[in-house]
Every structure is written in C-alpha cells, then in structure tokens.
C-alpha cells in the first residue's frame, strides 16, 4: 500500500516538470454579445490594439535587465541576468507578441463593425526623461477609440525553468498578458481600467493616473491635453519594485459591468491544441491561439464595449483630435452646442477624423498582412513548430526522467521493505527485486540526474542555436516596421496636409470664440481653475468644461452648465480628493458648485447609485427615473449659440 502511494506521489511531484498549461482560457466561458457602433461617435474606433513590436538599441540593456528583475511567476537567479539566453527570451517576447497580437486583431476586426479596429505597434525606447518607455510607431492612437487593448505574450526569463511551473510562451504554450482600458471619463473611479492581467494591474493604474494628471495640468495651463502612455507591460517593467495597490478587483467569472471594479485576469499558461501544432505551417488558418484564447478574449472585449457609454468614453479624445487641426472648434466643442454653424463645422471636422481613421485602418491591415500572412508570419510559425517539437521531446524525456527517478526511489524503498517482510513468496520476490533494484536504482538514479542535466543543456542549447533565426526575425521586423513608419508617416503627413487644406477652404465662421480666459471654481477646492466654454465677466456662465487642480494633486473636473463660475445645472463632476487613490464621479444636478437634486454616484468597488442631494449633502436614496443625465454627444447641450 505504502509503495502504491509512494509511487503515485513521486510521479505527481517528479523531479522534472512536463511544461503543461491550461487547454482553454478562462475567457472561453465569456458569452457572446452583439456590439453596434454608436452613431453619435461615428468617426471613432471601437478598439485599438497596442503591442510591442521593436526595441531601440539604446533601450535593449535596460529592457533585458528589467525583464529579469521583474520576472512574473518566480525569482530569476542573479547569475541568469547577464546570460545571452535571458536576452534571447526578452527578444522573443517582442517578436512573438507581434505575431500573436495579429490573431486578436483578426478576430476583433471580423466581429466588430467595419473600420473600427486598429493596430498600434510600439517601439521600446529609453531616454533620460522618460526612462524605459514605449511609443507608437504609427499615428493610430490619434484616432479616438472606445477601448484600448494592450497585448503581449509573456515568457519567464530563466530558460532552465522552462519545463516547470513559470509562465512561458514557447511552442504550444502561450501566456498572454493584456489590459483593457477606456478613458478616465469612460470609467471614472478606476481611471478607465476595465481588465488587467493581475501582475500589471497596479502599474497600469499608476500609469493611467499619471497620464490623467499630465493631461489635467496641460488643460489647466490652456494647452491641448495630449500625452502618450507606454504599453502597460513596459510601464510594469520600468517600475521595478513598486508596491501592489489595493485596487478593487474581481475575477473574470463575475458578471461584468455591475460594479466599478477591475477585472483581474490571472496569468494563464495556455497549452494550444497539439494536433494543430504538429504542422502549423499548413494548418495555421485554423489558428490554435484563436481557438484556445483569442475567441474568448474577443467575446470579453465585446462585453466591455457594451459596459461603457461610447460617447462618454471618447468625449475628451474627440476634443483632443479636433485640437490637432482646429483649435477654435476644439474649444467650442466643450459647449456641446446644437447651433447649426457649429454642427456644420463639426461635421466637416469629424469627416476629417473619419478619413484619417480609414487611412490608418488600411495601414493596420497591411501590418496584419505582413506580420501574419507574409514572410515574418511564415518564419515565426517555423520557429514555433520547432519549439513545439523540442518541447514534445523534452516532455518525453521528462516522463522518462520522472519514471526513472520514481522507480529508483521505489527500488530503494523496496530494499527497505524487503528487510521487513518475512514470507517466503515475498522474500523471494523481494530478493529478486532487490537484486535488480540495487543495480537498477543506481543506474536509474544516474540516468535521472543525466536526464535533468541534459534537459537544462537542451534548453540553453536550443535557445542559443535558435538565436540567429530569431535575430533574423527581429531585424526583418525592425526593418519592415521602420519602413512602414517612414512611408506611413510621410504618406500620412502628406495626406493630412491635403485634407487640412481642403478643410480650411470649406469651413465657415461659427460666429463665436470661447478662447478667452475664464475662471472656474468649486467649493471642493480652494483654488481657481480654468473654464473652457461660455463666459460672462471672466467667470464660467453657460455650457462648458472646467478644471481645477490644487498643489496637493487633488482636482475637480466638470462638464456641463455653470453660473457665476460654479457648476450650476446638469453636469458631470469627477473629483479626485487628496490622499484618495480612486476618483468619485457625480452626474446630475448641481447648484452653486454643489450637488443638488438627483445624482448618479460612481465610486470604486461599488455599483453606481442614485442619491438625493441637498446643497451638497447626501440625504438618501433617489429614484433613477427622476435623474437627468449628461449627454456626451457633440451637440448634447442642445442649445443655440447667441
């Protein structure tokens, strides 16, 4: 009996792992949800997929060391940091992210309205100001988008741990990391975060918060709120040893959308279908990654699209897009006027943004074709196939190794067992067994150790020998994407110049300009802010957008009606209080800067609630049917300019 238990235990916890993963992602359970493009935001994209595609030479050393230091799923021995194999794994992460991101792009592109999904490949760079960071290669992120998905695969830096538990992307194993975000106003309490791979959640939140602060400071100074964020994975690597934040998290299984919580996607090592891996070069159109992860993740992204109000999510991105070519209109945009003169100009401007989106959609399509269908994709599949064959061989070896180790231990145990057993039959059997095991165990133990050493050697040797193939892929990708960046940028700049000339020749006066400096205040903060909108006697009066920031970092943003410099009428207010990690969002009626009437309240970790306020005091629950919300469409305020 004891031997049976012992053998089982040994086989389960054998010396060498067999590099296994889940055969299906958690998201395979996600239900399908139809998504329609919101006609109020017809020029916007629904999803932009960002992924690492290149590394600049200046950033390589820091990127590799950060990759080793911030390993997910275990500690990397210091001795491994400087090894070429660690650098190879870091490089393979970029090349494979480019490849696997295409599956997500194709699935989303095919399941969402035409021309609403774009690709944004990033280059990883370093400079003294921003340290390790990434920036988009194409102009894709200038297009307002409801959601942004940051995608990359992950692989543990220490190649010797390949057969054990740490996350890996090698052969048939893929460990995807991703975050799904909307804008800070699209999901106010969590700075726009909807889903984040668990290890990235804190870094992603910190980065989103920093970007918001940067944009608010710019608006407060009267500048357009531009600003770029790195890929969340790069932000995570750049942070090094920052503490994890106590964010309100929920698991992927929970019903999405009810509460303002961040869905924490656990690190999943997905094992793709071996049948499809055997001859990937021939069977790649039945993409195993799509079957085992992307299809489910796509359904979840579609659910996320239904979780947010599209007009609200892209309101400030639309304003920023207008500010790039028509500052006057960008200011008037905050009024959300329905005056025909403004609407006519908005129609032209939005047509321009839509044309740019179409241009960039075409670029995304060529990036997809080149990366997945072209030479790069074909060679990546050869590499993945070779990796799969190697893994399968190592799995076989590991099974042998486990078996020999297990039996060696069993034989040892049998020897001891034999000394305690007295029956003739058993003694004879044990004697023969002992004789064999004494010889066999020593041999088997030796083989076991050999096999283990062999495994490690193979891992290193494989990665080292595969390096030229990877280097070729990297250099091809770099050359190819750089050519794309140059050609596209040149083509895009030329296109933008032409369209801008056309736009400027066709626009008419709106009969007003809201660019005069105007004050905005709030009882929340003892500071004077800036108002973009209708103004009287130097203070906010009418529709517009106001921003106040205190030196402490606390801030108030407000979109809606104002009087005498204070929020007054229907509006939405985003309050970031000093010391509070997350924001509070109030939407409804305000009087003299304070909530007054029925308001919808959103706080992190809670479901949205409707509350009755009197002069800023919460006096109890309110009926949502009495609530009048803010319309975030371009002409939401529905009023005519004077």
């Amino acid at each position: 009996m004891i031997l049976g238990w012992l053998s089982l235990a040994l086989l389960v916890s054998g010396c060498a792992g067999t590099a296994k993963g889940r055969d299906r992602s958690l998201y395979q359970q996600a239900a399908a949800a139809p998504v329609d493009a919101d006609p109020r935001v017809g020029s916007d994209a629904l999803v932009i997929i960002r992924y690492p595609a290149m590394i600049h030479a200046d950033a390589e050393t820091l990127y590799v060391s950060s990759f080793a230091v911030n390993a997910i799923g275990g500690e990397v021995p210091f001795a491994q940091y400087g090894k070429p194999q660690t650098a190879r794994m870091a490089q393979s992460l970029v090349a494979k992210s480019s490849y696997y991101a295409m599956s997500l792009y194709r699935e989303l592109r095919d399941s969402l309205p035409e021309h609403t999904v774009l690709l944004s490949p990033h280059i990883i760079e370093w400079n003294e100001e921003r340290q390790l960071h990434s920036r988009p290669i194409l102009a894709t992120e200038q297009v307002p988008s409801v959601l942004t998905v940051d995608f990359n695969i992950y692989t543990f830096p220490d190649v010797n741990e390949m057969m054990d538990a740490p996350p890996l992307t090698f052969g048939d194993l893929v460990t995807p990391l991703f975050t799904v975000k909307t804008s800070a106003w699209g999901r106010p309490p969590l700075e726009g975060l909807v889903i984040a791979s668990q290890p990235l959640a804190s870094a992603s939140f910190r980065q989103a918060k920093a970007l918001t602060e940067q944009q608010l400071s710019a608006r407060l100074e009267g500048f357009p709120a531009m600003g770029q964020s790195s890929l969340d994975f790069i932000a995570f690597l750049a942070e090094r040893s920052q503490p994890a934040l106590p964010l309100p998290l929920q698991s992927p299984g929970a019903t999405p959308g009810r509460q303002a919580t961040l869905e924490a996607y656990p690190v999943e090592k997905i094992q793709m279908d071996g049948q499809l891996m055997v001859n990937l070069e021939e069977t790649y159109r039945s993409d195993p990654f799509t079957r085992d992860f992307v299809a489910g993740a796509t359904r979840r992204v579609r659910q996320a699209l239904n979780q947010v109000d599209h007009a609200q999510a892209t309101f400030f991105a639309r304003q920023a897009a207008l500010a790039r070519f028509d500052e006057e209109l960008a200011h008037v945009f905050f009024i959300r006027s329905s005056d025909e003169r403004v609407l006519a100009r908005l129609r032209l401007a939005e047509a321009l943004v839509r044309a740019e989106r179409e241009f960039l959609v075409a670029q995304s399509e060529t990036v997809y074709q080149g990366t997945y269908e072209g030479d790069f994709g074909m060679k990546m599949r050869k590499i993945i196939e070779a990796e799969y064959r190697m893994l399968e061989e190592r799995r076989r070896l590991a099974r042998v190794q486990n078996m020999t180790a297990a039996v060696a231990a069993l034989a040892m145990a049998g020897t001891i067992y034999g000394a305690t057993v007295t029956t003739t039959a058993s003694t004879a059997m044990v004697a023969s067994l002992t004789g064999l095991s004494l010889v066999g165990s020593v041999w088997a133990m030796n083989r076991s150790f050999d096999a283990r050493a062999e495994s490690e050697e193979i891992s290193e040797a494989f990665v080292a020998r595969m390096a030229p193939a990877f280097e070729r892929q990297m250099s091809v990708q770099v050359e190819w994407l750089e050519s794309r960046e140059i050609i596209t940028a040149r083509g895009f700049a030329e296109f933008r110049n032409k369209t801008l000339t056309l736009y400027q020749s066709r626009i008419r006066s709106m009969g007003m300009d809201t660019r005069a400096e105007c004050d905005f205040r709030s009882p929340e903060l003892d500071a004077v802010g800036r108002w973009y909108g209708e103004c009287r006697d130097g203070a906010a009066f009418g529709q517009g957008y106001g921003i106040i920031m205190a030196a402490s970092g606390a801030s108030v943003e407000y979109l809606g009606a104002a009087e005498r410099g204070l929020a007054d009428g229907t509006g939405g207010m985003l309050i970031r209080r000093q010391g509070a990690r997350t924001a509070t969002y109030l939407e409804g009626e305000f009087r003299a800067g304070l909530p007054n009437g029925v308001l919808r309240v959103e706080r992190a970790g809670e479901s949205a609630r409707w509350r009755e306020y009197r002069a800023g005091d919460d006096v109890g629950r309110a009926d949502s049917s009495r609530w009048a919300g803010l319309d975030f469409s371009s002409a939401g305020a529905g009023q005519t300019l004077p």
């Binding site: 072209g374 059997m429 494989f462």
Partner: protein, 252 residues
C-alpha cells in the same frame, strides 16, 4: 439659376404649381422628377403658421388654361421686381408641399421605379443648389412683404431660413466628403503600393535555406538520443513490474 426662372415662371403663371401634379405628361420623366423634388425641397421646414399667413395674403388666382413654359421666362430680374408674383406662386407651392406632400413623394417613387436610368442622371447636388437659391429668394420675399411683423410668422420664417442653412451645409458637407473620400482613397493607394513593394521584398526572401538550417541546428541537440532513453525506460519498467508484482502478493 434655371430653377429660379422656373419658379418665377410658376409664380407668374399662377396655378402652375398646381399643374405640377396635373400637367406632367408634357415633361420628360427626368424633368418631372426634378420639379417634384424641388417642390419637396422648397417646402421643407414650412410650418402651418407660415403657410396660412402667406396663403391669406397671397391667394393664387385661377389656373390658366395653358401651362407656362419656364424656359420662356429667363429674366433673373423677375424675382427682384415682381415680389408679388413670387409670393403668390410660393403660396401655391407651399400648399402643394404641405397638403399634397405624400402624393408628391408617391409620384417620385413611381418615377424612380418606372424610369430608373433617367432618374439616375438627375444631379442631386444641382437640385439642392437650385432649392437653396429658391428658398433664399422666398425667404427674402416674405421679409419684403412685411408678413414677418407678426412674431409667430417671424419665428416660422427664422425656422425656414435655418432649414435653408442646414440644407446648404449638408450640400457643402456632401461635396467636402466626396473630395475627402477621393483624397483618402488616393492616399491609401499611394502609401499602400509603397508598402506592398516593401512587403514583396520580404515575401520574396531568398534566404529560406539559411533560416531552415538555423532551425535544424537548434533542434539537433535533442534529436538522436531516443535509443538511450528507451533503454532507461525499459529498465525502469522492469523494476516497476517487479514492485507491482511484489505488492500484489498477499502478506500471510
């Protein structure tokens, strides 16, 4: 401009507007379609207040026996010097648009279905341009008449002018959009062809052998050792069999 002349003709020859529905047989389907479309476009945004006010002040006389050929009335001065005729015709045209709008729409659909090739040649942009000019002339004439002294009429006239502005803006938007679409298609084709050329460089990559050799080289260390491991497996299996056999013997 020819529409202005046509409208002026309609207005001079009172009753022509009414004949739009009755004498169309003399016109080609395309011309019928153009005129009926104009009636709808000109009547767009007319409310009851404006219609009744105009109708009570400028009741059209009885229709003439002979319909007027608009091409015979080409003088653009007509709308300047003969506002009364214009307002009388307008009154009649508004009546058709307000009271017979559905019938006009039905006739348009019938023409569209009956003469699709002819109707496709009608320029929508030209129609819109004509309608905008006529609407502006009508609005100016109502202003000249003094009917807008009444506040309700004044508001109704403001709505009518605003709708004219919208039509003009939509027309300009469509023209802008067409031009923009052409530029976008050109830019996509131009940049796309350059990228395609670049893509072909990689697709036609001739170093496949080198690449494949790298992969074979990477695979070599773990290939060709199967026999040794099979030996280990065989011995291990024998040992295991022994253990299993011993365990299967009952202890007396």
């Amino acid at each position: 401009m020819r529409v202005l002349v046509w409208l002026a003709g309609c207005m001079l020859a009172a009753g022509v507007a009414a004949d739009i529905l009755s004498v169309n047989d003399t016109l080609t389907p395309r011309e019928q379609y153009r005129r009926l479309s104009l009636v709808l476009l000109i009547g767009e945004g007319v409310n009851e207040t404006l219609y009744h006010s105009l109708h009570s002040a400028y009741s059209p006389p009885q229709p003439q026996d002979e319909p007027v050929n608009p091409d015979e009335l080409r003088s653009p001065l007509l709308r300047i010097v003969d506002q009364d005729s214009m307002l009388t015709g307008t009154s009649h045209l508004f009546r058709i648009a307000v009271e017979h709008g559905p019938e006009v729409a039905r006739r348009l659909r019938a023409l569209d279905e009956g003469y699709p090739e002819d109707i496709q040649r009608v320029s929508l942009a030209a129609l819109q341009e004509d309608a905008i000019l006529v609407r502006m002339a009508i609005a100016d004439s109502i202003g000249w008449s003094g009917l807008d002294a009444d506040e309700d009429v004044s508001q109704a006239l403001a709505v009518y002018r605003a709708r004219t502005l919208e039509l003009r803006n939509l027309l300009e938007y469509e023209q802008f959009n067409q031009e923009l679409g052409r530029m976008t298609a050109e830019a996509i084709a131009s940049v796309g062809s350059k990228l395609d050329a670049y893509q072909r460089m990689f697709d036609d990559e001739v170093q496949d052998d080198t690449f494949d050799r790298h992969i074979r080289s990477a695979e070599r260390p773990y290939q060709g050792r199967g026999a040794l491991n099979e030996d280990a497996a065989r011995v291990a299996e024998e040992v295991m069999n022994g253990v299993v056999l011993s365990e299967s013997q009952p202890v007396p």
